[in-house]
Symmetry: C2
Subunit: 144 residues, 2 copies
DNA sequence: TTGACATCGTTGCAATTGCAACGATAGGGT
DNA sequence: ACCCTATCGTTGCAATTGCAACGATGTCAA
């Protein structure tokens, strides 16, 4: 037997935990709104800014740009977002929420908050340290 | 604009961070050993116990059992593991590392440690709290 | 014992994915 | 103005994936 404790191995723990959380949360909005995981990510990003390009999302999230492009197309077809050319740089497209999309996010946001609160409450006093650590790592692209 | 800060949203942060770490680490062993992410997970589990079933891995990791089954088949074909029937319950199979598989893990384990150390060092004093929180959540299936 | 039901690992198949390549556009440097 | 190179979003395509269904095996109560 090797001297290696998987249950203590950070990348493993992180992957399992994250997948569990994402899958669980995804079930929520898939069942209620028919939104996929990639679509949720795109919507969430759009709710943060007026106008966002595929590239903006791509560099911030670990999602292939084709995945984002396809999610955006589905969202556009469903009437949740609009795609238009960015006139100052015509290689870019501007994604933006429609009214319908905004309304959707207004429905989904409370679910997100509620879900997050449920997870955080389990951490009790450690919650703050945990969030701080996650953000510390997330913002430091040089490490991971 | 909605009152929702994605950059503070735990499931999102977790997913991005975890994907980044996994992808980065996966590049290491894929390039050097031609091992996929699922295969690494299976190998890592086998290095923890003498004999493990597909189900054992399935319940512990968020991996579809078909994915595990296929990874196991590839690993068997490559000579890293063996599959045999569990005689006490013939529905189960016993996966186990071969000598070649053990040797592989002996090569990969230091890489894993090294990688983990690099990530943890960025956390400094928060490392312990972070690990504790991750494990707290991981072990509590009722929350997530 | 038998029969109804649960669990295990595998597989077929459709859907999703990642990757590379593409056309269109932009930004220098000369 | 003209290359040369870089970047953007999309798409074709092969590979991977998730899901459901399956055969085989096990369990347990009638």
């Amino acid at each position: 037997m090797l001297d290696f404790d998987l249950s203590q191995f950070l990348p493993y723990q992180l992957a399992v935990l994250s997948e569990r959380v994402s899958k669980d949360f995804a079930t929520l909005y898939r069942e209620r709104f028919g939104i996929s995981r990639a679509e949720w990510r795109v919507l969430a990003h759009l709710s943060q800014a007026d106008s966002v390009s595929v590239r903006d999302i791509h560099v911030q999230v670990e999602l292939d740009k084709s995945k984002i492009s396809r999610a955006a197309s589905r969202l556009e077809a469903a009437g949740y977002i609009t795609k238009k050319l960015n006139e100052s740089d015509r290689r870019l497209i501007s994604l933006a929420l429609t009214e319908k999309g905004t309304a959707l996010m207004e429905e989904m946001t409370p679910l997100a908050r509620e879900y997050e609160a449920r997870v955080l409450s389990r951490l009790g006093d450690d919650a703050a340290a945990f969030l701080a650590a996650v953000q510390k790592l997330s913002q430091d692209r040089s490490v991971v």
